[in-house]
């Protein structure tokens, strides 16, 4: 499996953010996107997830499902956690497990892994910012998708959770997955390839 991006162009409201971006990542590789604020890290992830349209460029997952779009084969972990205050973590994961397809881990196991087992049936309204982030990370475990698109995944996480996160990514890579993460903080992923995006437009 190989993620290939060629000559990708990103525009936000008519102004170019980056142009002619090309890179590739084979199975088991993590790419860490670096660059100043406004360099287009989040936009690149949104384009890969199919949420933003790129005016030009090619992106594909070689060896993936030819019938599915890139976004349908990717977990997208954005700035927003997609957590409903009225639902409990267990219900949240149950729903995403059904809606994202290719079910993998059971919600209870995923919550235990992220250290949220004790809060499984509490309404998410009572969770802290870091706990919500951990719930969003648990979502990556309940459904199998080969490509992980992570936008500042460790924001609001404590040190212990950051180590757990690094472990999750390492397992995903070892299983032949690909991860693309935007960050300002070292993520602790071994052998990650750095991709530096240019100056802000």
């Amino acid at each position: 499996m190989r993620l290939v991006v060629e000559g990708l162009v990103c525009e936000r409201s008519g102004r170019p953010v980056f142009e002619g971006l090309s890179f590739a990542a084979s199975a088991g590789t993590a790419i860490v996107l670096l660059g100043p604020n406004g360099a287009g890290k989040s936009s690149l992830l949104a384009i890969l997830a199919g949420l933003l349209e790129a005016p030009a460029g090619i992106m594909r997952l070689e060896g993936g499902d030819p019938d599915a779009s890139l976004g349908e084969q990717a977990h997208y972990l954005g700035h927003r956690d997609a957590v409903k205050p009225a639902l409990s973590p267990r219900e949240t994961l149950d729903i995403w497990r059904a809606l994202l397809g290719a079910p993998l881990a059971m919600p209870a196991a995923a919550l235990d892994r992220l250290g949220l087992g004790h809060a499984a049936d509490l309404p998410c309204a009572y969770l802290s910012a870091g706990q919500r982030r951990r719930l969003a990370l648990a979502r990556l475990l309940v459904s199998h998708r080969p490509l992980w698109l992570l936008d500042e995944p460790t924001a609001a996480l404590d040190h212990a959770s950051q180590r757990v996160f690094a472990g999750l990514v390492a397992e995903h890579l070892a299983a032949g997955g690909i991860a693309v993460a935007a960050t300002h903080i070292p993520l602790g992923i071994d052998g990650a390839v750095e991709l530096r995006l240019g100056t802000p437009a």
Binding site: G50, L51, L87, I95, L99
Partner: protein, 223 residues
């Protein structure tokens, strides 16, 4: 696929029940509108029973609008929509399920409550049944016409007002045929079935075009 559909429907109903706001508030709003009108018009029972179906229908249209602005906005704000777009369900089906949940918690209770509220407007027994039946057949059209507006205004912070302005004119045909069918039941030259079948057709058309239109609007959102 059916599992995903059921999971989404359960989620929507659960959220509607736990957060409130949607169904029960719509019903209370409906009751308020229906009780306020007789105060404004005066205690003329003949007049009230003549315009009663129209009052119930206008109240139903406004109550439906009440919860529509949050139909997609809540999911757009917290990022759930980004995930739904990459899920196993096509966006058209997501809209269908969310619309169905909205109708089950708003339109259906209105149709069931309409006969009781109709008593306040001195409606005849056959009118009570007719209004309830037309609401049952017509409120899906209101929901799914509104869904297009809700999708277009999903990323606007004060979208509720824009939504009403966009959507209310499109609800006029539903209102016309709904009221005329309800009126035809209590006498008149037009048989009940003629406007009623048009109303059913409007609902079916709105469900299809609403799903396609709202999904297209959600996809084009480059927020």
């Amino acid at each position: 696929m059916t599992g995903a559909l059921a999971a989404l429907l359960r989620r929507e109903l659960r959220l509607a029940i736990r957060i409130g706001g949607g169904g029960t508030m719509g019903l209370v709003f409906f009751l308020m509108l229906v009780t306020v009108v007789p105060f404004a018009i005066g205690p003329d029972l003949n007049l009230l029973s003549r315009i009663g179906p129209a009052i119930l229908w206008i109240a139903a249209a406004l109550s439906t609008l009440l919860g529509l602005d949050r139909l997609f906005q809540a999911d757009a704000e917290d990022g759930s929509l980004d995930l739904l777009r990459s899920g196993v369900l096509p966006l058209e089906l997501v809209v269908l399920v969310k619309g169905l949940a909205h109708w089950l918690t708003t339109g259906l209770p209105l149709a069931i409550a309409a006969p009781f509220f109709g008593l306040l407007l001195a409606l005849s027994p056959e009118s009570l049944g007719a209004v309830s039946l037309t609401l049952l057949a017509g409120t899906p059209a209101l929901t799914f016409i509104g869904a297009i507006g809700a999708a277009l205004t999903a990323s606007l912070r004060r979208g509720g007002l824009v939504l009403s302005i966009l959507v209310l004119p499109l609800m006029v045909p539903v209102l016309i045929f709904g009221v005329s069918a309800a009126g035809a039941a209590s006498g008149g030259t037009v048989p009940f079935l003629t406007p009623f079948l048009v109303l059913v057709a409007l609902s079916l058309f709105a469900i299809v075009s609403g799903c396609l239109g709202a999904a297209a609007a959600l996809r084009s959102d480059q927020g």
